[in-house]
Structure formats: C-alpha cells, structure tokens
C-alpha cells in the first residue's frame, strides 16, 4: 500500500469499518477508537500489505483489537453496557429488533453475519478476518440465522 492507496482505503471503507465496530462494541467512542487504531496499524505496516488486501486487513485488525479490548474489560462492565443499550433501543421496527437480537448472539456469530451482510464478504474472506476456517464460518452463519429467525418469530408472536 502506498499513501494514495491508504487514503483511498480511508475514504472507501472507514464508514463500513465504523458501522462494523459500532455493532460490535455498541459504544460510539470505543467504535471510533477502534477505527482509529485499525487505520494506524495499517499505516504502520502499509509497506507489507498488498493493495488488494487492504480492506480485509483493516477489518481483521479491527476485530482483533476489539477482541483484545473486550478481554481486558471487566465482565460486569460489559454487562452494564449490554443493559444500557437494550434499554435505549425500543422495538419500533424490524431493523431495531434485528440489531437488538444480533447483540444476543455469540461474538463470532455476530461478527460473521455483520461481515456477510454489511460488507458482502464470502465465507473464505470472513474466515481470514475472524481467524476461522471456511467451514466454521458456515456453521456460525447458519446458527446465527437460525437464532435470529427464532427471535423474530418470538417477537412476532408477542406483537
């Protein structure tokens, strides 16, 4: 990657990366920090990154940073965070229901679905980003869709 290609990455993918981060951590400041950190890391290693791998490298860096950060957080803090978001998001429409349901999925399933639906990555690319085999990605996406369908079904039954 040269500087021009790096800047192209910023303009083309910072929004998508931010959306991914925001859905992962559900905190605006932390999401922005993750985006910032990811781009910094990519810039520092840009000489070693092929131009066509820039985007997946960004997402992988962000995901790894998120996992590292989450591991360092105290469990009670994470719990606080989830509750706060659940209270803030009223179930007005399907989009909100879905995103709330998404937060109930295990981290890897959630990330796989986000990368699939938001960024259109194939299973192999998702595997590269999340450090999973293609087979594992398929399993996670299958289970995530099934879980989301069941949540949607339950909510529809209540409504």
């Amino acid at each position: 990657l040269n500087a021009r290609q790096y800047n192209d990455l910023v303009y083309a993918h910072s929004d998508g990366l931010y959306r991914f981060a925001l859905r992962l951590c559900r905190d605006d400041d932390q999401a922005k920090d993750l985006v910032q950190i990811s781009f910094e890391k990519v810039w520092l290693k840009c000489e070693d990154i092929p131009a066509d791998k820039g985007k997946s490298y960004l997402f992988r860096t962000l995901y790894n940073s998120f996992v590292d950060t989450t591991r360092k957080m105290k469990p009670d803090r994470i719990g606080e965070h989830c509750n706060a978001v659940s209270e803030l998001v009223p179930h007005h429409d399907l989009k909100e229901i879905l995103h709330d349901a998404l937060n109930q999925l295990p981290e890897a399933q959630k990330s796989a679905v986000l990368l699939r639906d938001y960024e259109g990555y194939n299973y192999q690319e998702i595997g590269e980003i999340l450090n999973l085999s293609e087979s594992q990605v398929k399993v996670y996406i299958f289970r995530a869709r099934k879980a989301l369908q069941q949540i949607i079904g339950k909510i529809e039954a209540v409504l």
Partner: protein, 360 residues
C-alpha cells in the same frame, strides 16, 4: 475431516451446494442417523445420488421433492445466503407455497438479512488521511517513471528501425512551438534538475509519433507525468506550471507588449513549412535577443528564478525563435528530419533538446 456436532451444519450447506463427494454424503447421512437429536436429515433419495443413471436435473428434482420438516431450515438458509441456483430456489418456493406455516418461517429467515444503515458515517476521516509524497510514494513514482522511460526508449528505437514507413504527423507548427517552449523552460534549469525532467522531453518526442499519440497525448497523462517529476524534484510547482498550456498562452500574451521584435515574429503565420519558418527575417534577430536573455538568466540565477513572470516571457520569446539553438543541430529522425536533436551550452548550462518540426 470428521463430521461432528460442531461442524455438521457446514456439511449440510456444502451438500446443498453439491460440494460433497458421494462418500461424504454417505458419512453425513450416517452421522445424522446416529444423532436424531440434531433435528436434521437428508432426504432418503440423496443416498442414491451416486446413481449413474440420473442426470443432474433429475437429481435436483429428486432432491427438492424431499424438502421436509427436518431439513427445511437448511434449505431456507441456503436460499437466503444465495447458495442455490435458479431451479433449486424454485423448488424451495414450491415447498413453502404448500404450507402457510413454512411460508411464514421462510419469510422470517429472509428478514435475518441485516439492512446496512447508511446514515451511520465515520465523520473523522480527515484525521486518518496521510499526506501524499512520502518516501514510499516517491519510490512508487520513481519505479513508474523508470518503467515509462524503458518503454519509451524501446518504442523510439523501434521507430528508428522503420525508416521505410513514414510516420504520419498531424501537428501544426503552433503545436511544435508550444513543445519547444516547454522544453526550453525545462532545459534552462540547473543540471541535476534537467536530468530529472529529461524523461518528459523524451516522452514529448515520442508523443508526436503517430503510434504513441493515443496513449500519451492527453492532458491527464501529461499531468500524471508531471506528478512523477513532482515526486523527485523540489521545484515541482514551477515545473507543473510550465507543463500547462495555459501558462504558455499567458506568457505569450505578456511578451507581445514588451518587444517589437516579438510582435513582428508573432504576426507571421507559423503554420507553414520548416523552410518558410527559418527564412523569416525576424528570426535571426529574435534568436540573438533570446540567447542573450538566456545567458543573462544563467549568470544571474543558479537556481530556479524567483521572477516567474519575467521567466515566462523569456521562455516564450526564445521559443518563438525556433532557430535559436540550431547551431549544433544533428538529425536523428527519419528521412524527413522531423526530429532534431540540439546540443548547445549557454552560460554554463547544458542544453540537450529534441525538437519536433511538424508538417501539415
């Protein structure tokens, strides 16, 4: 790879995509038979999928007639994931159309696709952007410039080998004058900088060749080349300006009110032949004037001039005096002498220029 409770869904999806061998299909069938708690099953007929007498179409038909309660969710998810072909999708649609319950469930699966919220934007992009022109960029541009030089030298060599095929030129004298003007501006720079911009001179020479015109003649490409030079030189802005035709026109406009000799030359129609051009009575006087100015500039300035406006006028004048630097001219072009290489030293500055003299 062993089929386990942790990965059997992937095998199910692979089976739907037709990625499993018959041996793997049998293994999957056995695994599902051993684990009725997983609530998944392959249709009975799939075990027979290796029957050589069945066509692919027949296998598809057989397969999707057997979508049932225990495997439907795999089909629904494969549908949502875009794994199924057109026939397979129709089979799923036919299946759900038979049952309102399954139809509702199928629609719920469709809704699991997350809609991207495009209103969520990262607003601090400017803080992430890096300045262009770092060491890495310099190296990239330098590599690109080297590749262009090699390409052009090769092309020019080929051009010299084809004397029997006369190149077709469409440029007028005006065009040649503009190039001359730019080249003069470049040539009067200090030696180390001249080395850097010589690629452009070579390029300009070859731009005139019919075969190359379509590839390198656009303004966009000229600026790209200028950017390449930009990465290697400290006087880049000025160089870019001289590569711009607008500057050329402005400069000519300036000099028209400064010197009667120029006025006289400018009134001449330059879109004529080479012989007519050189026979104009004003040319020798203009040459003399231009050379004296260049010498003066060489004495006064060791670097790029501060007074750009003055220099623009000077270069324009010298460029109008097309014969100014023809004293040591040598032909390097085709039989028509359309390309002329000139070597001369004025005021300690070395000039080496290739001038195109066009024909109508």
């Amino acid at each position: 790879m062993m089929i386990t409770k942790h990965n059997f869904e992937a095998y199910m999806l692979d089976w739907m995509e037709g990625k499993l061998s018959d041996q793997e299909v049998r293994a999957l069938q056995l695994f599902l038979d051993d684990h009725p708690d997983l609530d998944a099953a392959l249709p009975e007929e799939i075990v027979l999928s290796d029957a050589a007498f069945l066509s692919d179409e027949e296998k598809d038909s057989l397969l999707y007639q057997n979508i049932d309660e225990r495997n439907r969710s795999y089909f629904f998810i494969a549908y949502v994931e875009g794994m199924l072909d057109e026939n397979q999708m129709k089979a799923v649609e036919t299946f759900v159309a038979r049952s309102p319950v399954f139809d509702k469930e199928f629609n719920q699966f469709k809704r699991t696709l997350l809609p991207m919220d495009t209103t969520v934007l990262f607003t601090d992009k400017h803080a992430l952007v890096q300045p262009i022109g770092g060491a890495l960029d310099w190296w990239t541009n330098a590599t690109r410039a080297a590749a262009i030089i090699v390409l052009l030298i090769g092309s020019y060599w080929l051009f010299l080998q084809t004397d029997d095929v006369a190149p077709r030129y469409t440029q007028s004298y005006k065009y040649a004058t503009e190039y001359f003007q730019e080249q003069l501006a470049i040539d009067t720079l200090p030696d180390e900088q001249v080395v850097q911009v010589r690629t452009i001179q070579t390029l300009q020479l070859l731009v005139e060749h019919d075969n190359m015109t379509t590839e390198i003649s656009s303004e966009e490409q000229r600026l790209e080349i200028a950017e390449t030079v930009d990465a290697k030189s400290s006087f880049s802005i000025d160089t870019l300006e001289f590569l711009s035709p607008n500057i050329t026109e402005d400069a000519i406009a300036d000099i028209s009110v400064q010197d009667p000799i120029v006025m006289e030359v400018k009134q001449h129609d330059f879109s004529k032949t080479s012989a007519e051009m050189h026979s104009h009575p004003a040319i020798p006087r203009l040459d003399e004037w231009a050379i004296s100015k260049i010498e003066q500039r060489a004495r006064l300035s060791s670097g790029f001039p501060d007074d750009i406006e003055f220099e623009n006028s000077l270069y324009s004048l010298a460029s109008l005096g097309l014969s100014a630097l023809t004293k040591q001219q040598q032909s390097i072009g085709s039989k028509q002498d359309d390309y002329r290489k000139t070597r001369v030293e004025i005021g300690g500055l070395k000039f080496e220029r290739t001038v195109f003299v066009g024909r109508n």
